[in-house]
Every structure is written in C-alpha cells, then in structure tokens.
C-alpha cells in the first residue's frame, strides 16, 4: 500500500497548488479516493484554523466589548485598564468616545483630577456642540468635588449660550452652585431663580432672605466681640451653653484669684498671676466663640443648599410630568 501511494501523493500536491504535472500518470480508483480524502482533510484543517484563530486572539473590538461588559458590571478598575488598552491601540481613532467613558470611570473612582484631564481630551476631539457643552459641565462638576469653585466658574463662563433650555438650565444651576460655594449669595440667588418657576422663585427668595438674616444674627465678628465683653456669652449665644459657662467660671476664677493676690501681695504679683492664665482662657474663649459661629453658618449653608436642590428637583419633575 505504501509503495502504491507514493506516485499519487506528489501529483495531488501539485494539483492542489495549481501546477500542471509535466508527465501525466494514470489515475487509478485508489488514487481518486486518496485525493478526495486528502482534500477533505485539507479543508478541515484550513477551516478549523480559520475558525479557531480569532477566538484565541483578542482584537480591539473584542477588547472594547469586554471593557463595556466590565463597566456595566461595575468593575470600574478593570474597565479603566482595558479601555486604556483599546485607546492605546486604536490607530484609526474608531473609539474616541472612550475618553469621556474613561473620565466618567475616574469620576466614579473619585479621581477627579484625572477625570478633568480626560473630559478635557474628550472635549477637544468632540464635534457635537451639545456634547461639548455637557463635557464642560462635567468638568465643572469635578471642580466642585475638588472645591475649586473658581476653576469651575472659569469653565462655565467659557460656555456659549445654548439653544437647548435643558442645557441652559443646567448651566445656571452650576453657576448658582459656584457662587454659593464662593459665598456670593446675591449672584447665586440670581442663577437659582432662573431655573425654577414663579412659585419656586418665591421659595428661593424666602430661603435666601432667611439665610441672610441668619448670617447677620450669627456674624462671627459680632459673636467674638460678645465673648470679649462678657466671657462665655458668645458661646452661649451660638448654643454652646456648657462651653460658655465653663469659660465664664474659668475667667472669673482667674480674675478673683488675681484680685486676692493683689490685695495680699502687690499689684505686680496680681498682674503676673492674672496675665498668663487670663490670656490663655480669655483669648481661647472668644476664638472658640468665633469658630462656633462660623460652624453654625456652615451648617445652615448646607441646609439651605439641600433645600434649594430639592426645590429644583421638584420643579424638574413637575416639568417632565
């Protein structure tokens, strides 16, 4: 069998590769069967290699799909790495939208500096005005998170007026937040009022006027002076009664002790006793009072801020309905 298979083997190879054999040899039925078997084998090998090679390799599209899946599953870290891989090998710039996606992952991972950098890249390559506008707002949001209200304001001032009411409202909202964060309440009031309806405007007015009154009542400078006149008064005024009484007793005690020392010894001795202790408790007392007032205003600011937000949220829901 081996001896008989030798001549047709080389001939069949030449046939497959399209070369005409120079010397035609007689083809026996066994040869024909062999050719068929070999052809079948060749088909199987070639097709299977074609079928299985793509599954073994990971091309850019498959990698993108995998990254998308990781993102949707909430595996942001893996998604971030694989999206970067896709972008790194994306020579045809097919996946430019990934810059914004990567930025959003950084945002979710609280890496706001990187998020800003990627939003910036996404903005540069984006052609659609509305998306560019949205990306700027997202950058501003990252700056809020970092407490860079001035940077955010700078970003928002650069935005052109947009025909979309939704985007314009969003911009006003962000402007309001910026000014509120910078303690510029009049400007903030103006921007917030532009977002809500007439009923909402009244509520916003009330909130801001109440907040202004609150600021006047607990003005840190005023509270500090109160504690300077009567130790402990500023603390009690800001609601820290125990701290106020404690401060009053301490300073009174030191004063009484200094008076007794002065009577028994001399004025200099009295002053020496008084000076260090009195300074320690007296200055500490009015500094505390000032800090309490600042803290009280901050707390009120947070409360007003959340109330404004719920007001805007309600208005948005009403509009959508």
């Amino acid at each position: 069998m081996a001896g008989s298979s030798e001549p047709w083997h080389s001939a069949s190879i030449l046939q497959i590769y399209g070369d005409r054999p120079k010397q035609q040899k007689p083809i026996t039925p066994t040869c024909k069967k062999g050719i068929r078997t070999m052809r079948k084998l060749l088909y199987i090998i070639l097709f299977s290699s074609c079928l299985f090679s793509p599954s073994a390799s990971q091309d850019i599209h498959q990698m993108k799909k995998f990254s998308d899946e990781q993102f949707s599953m909430g595996n942001y870290r893996t998604a971030l790495k694989e999206y970067q891989r896709v972008l790194f090998f994306d020579e045809k710039n097919e996946y430019n939208d990934l810059y914004a996606r990567i930025a959003s992952i950084h945002y979710r991972l609280s890496d706001f500096d990187s998020a800003i950098r990627y939003y910036d890249l996404a903005q540069r390559i984006e052609n659609n005005d509305s998306i560019k506008f949205e990306l700027s707002l997202k950058k501003a949001m990252c700056n809020f998170k970092l407490g860079n209200y001035l940077e955010a304001l700078n970003e928002l001032y650069d935005l052109p007026d947009h025909s979309s009411v939704y985007l314009q409202n969003k911009r006003n909202l962000y402007m309001g937040i910026c000014h509120f964060g910078l303690n510029e309440y009049d400007n903030s009031h103006e921007y917030f009022s532009e977002i809500v309806d007439s009923a909402g405007v009244e509520k916003v007015n009330t909130l801001f006027s109440d907040f202004e009154r609150f600021n006047k009542i607990f003005r840190p400078g005023k509270v500090e002076i109160m504690s300077m006149f009567l130790p402990g008064l500023g603390q009690i005024y800001t609601g820290h009664t125990f701290n106020g009484i404690n401060s009053f007793i301490l300073i009174s005690g030191v004063t009484v002790y200094a008076v007794i020392t002065t009577i028994n010894y001399s004025l200099i001795d009295g002053l020496l006793v008084l000076s260090s202790w009195f300074y320690r408790y007296y200055s500490g007392g009015f500094t505390n009072a000032r800090n309490f007032a600042v803290q009280k205003i901050e707390d009120e600011k947070t409360r007003v801020y959340s109330e404004i937000f719920s007001l805007i949220e309600n208005y948005q829901i009403k509009t959508l309905e």
Partner: protein, 210 residues
C-alpha cells in the same frame, strides 16, 4: 475529473487565503509585543498598579524573558512596593548571577535603597558593579540606612574614587561629619561661612590634611 478537482482546489485556496488574511488582519492585543508596549505606556504615565499587573501577566507567560523581569522590578520600585523586594531578588537572581547583567544588579540595589532595607546581599551584588558605581551604591546604602559613621569611614577609604565620580555625595558626607564637631556657637552663627579660619579648617578636613 482532474480539471474539476483542480477548480475546486483553486477556489478553496483563494477562500482560505482570504480567510487567513482576514484573521491575520486582527491584531491580538494580548500578545507579547502589544502587551509589552501597553505595559510600558502604563508605566510611563505613572499608572504603576496597572503596569505591575501587565508586567506580572507577561512574566507569567514568559518567565525566562529578562527584559520583562527587569521592568517588573523597576515598576515595583517606582510604586514603592517594598513587600515585593524579596520576590524581586528571585526574579532577578538568574539575571544577576548567571548573565551578570549590570542593569539588573543596579535595579535591585536601587530598589533596596528605595525601601531603605538592610539587606545582607546588598554588598554581594554591588561587588559585581564597576568600582565607581559600587562606591556610589555602597555610600548611598550607608546614608539611607543612617549609618553615618560608616559612611564617613567609607568615604575616607575611597576618597579619590568618590570625589572624582560623585563630588556632591562626597561633600555631603564630609559636611555632615563636620557638623558633629562644631560648637553650638559655631552652628548658630554658621561661622565657617564668615570666618576664614573656619573655612580653612573645613578645607583641610576635606583635603585629608587632618
């Protein structure tokens, strides 16, 4: 029969060529070259955690590749993963002792210095380097492990070598040593900068006249 068979074979060949070309056009992003490129990109952008993962994957698939192990250790160092110091030695061991790779030896020494680790094998590995490099690493070792007396002694013993190759480190070591012998008054007044005598004394010490 032969003709029809030939036609089929040509068609099959063309089809297969097309399919192969389609398959070969797909770039495997996880192959050696692409993974290495991407890992280097991650390292260069300061994403050391991701770079580490990528190099570790590469090292798993190609454990004999000395470039990968070297870059992996470098990434550990840049990420200050001092818990991987021993592992790094294992990764570089063959590279250092069998292939006598200077970059690998330097990388391990640099990693040890970064971690301020007091390793027994430090001087063993530094002895493989050229003398001026060895003196730099050895002196640095004394500095980072806060053995200032040893640093001064070593500096004295290898004065010429260190002074010619690392004058900055040489001056630093001597100045630091001199601080110990200064009186409180001198330290407060920084008199050596004002009085010529003091400057002269310091110069004498540096020049080795004392």
């Amino acid at each position: 029969m032969i003709l029809s068979g030939r036609k089929i074979s040509i068609t099959a060949t063309i089809a297969c060529i097309l399919m192969f070309s389609a398959v070969s056009a797909q770039e495997n992003l996880l192959d050696y070259d692409n993974s290495l490129k991407f890992a280097r990109y991650l390292k260069s952008t300061g994403q050391y955690n991701f770079a580490m993962e990528e190099f570790e994957r590469l090292n798993f698939h190609w454990p004999q590749d000395t470039t990968i192990s070297l870059e992996l250790v470098q990434t550990y160092r840049l990420n200050r993963q001092c818990d991987r110091l021993d592992n790094s030695f294992e990764l570089l061991r063959n590279n250092i002792y069998q292939h006598h790779s200077l970059p690998a030896a330097k990388e391990y020494l640099a990693f040890t210095l970064t971690c301020k680790s007091e390793s027994d094998r430090f001087f063993d590995i530094s002895s493989l380097l050229r003398p001026h490099e060895k003196s730099f690493y050895d002196l640095s070792y004394y500095w980072v492990t806060e053995r200032y007396d040893s640093a001064f002694v070593y500096c004295n013993e290898n004065r010429d070598l260190i002074m010619s190759n690392n004058p900055g480190l040489f001056r630093l070591t001597y100045n630091f040593e001199n601080e110990k012998y200064k009186s409180l008054f001198k330290k407060m007044g920084r008199c050596y900068r004002v009085l010529p005598l003091c400057r002269f004394k310091r110069l004498c010490i540096i020049q080795g006249f004392q």
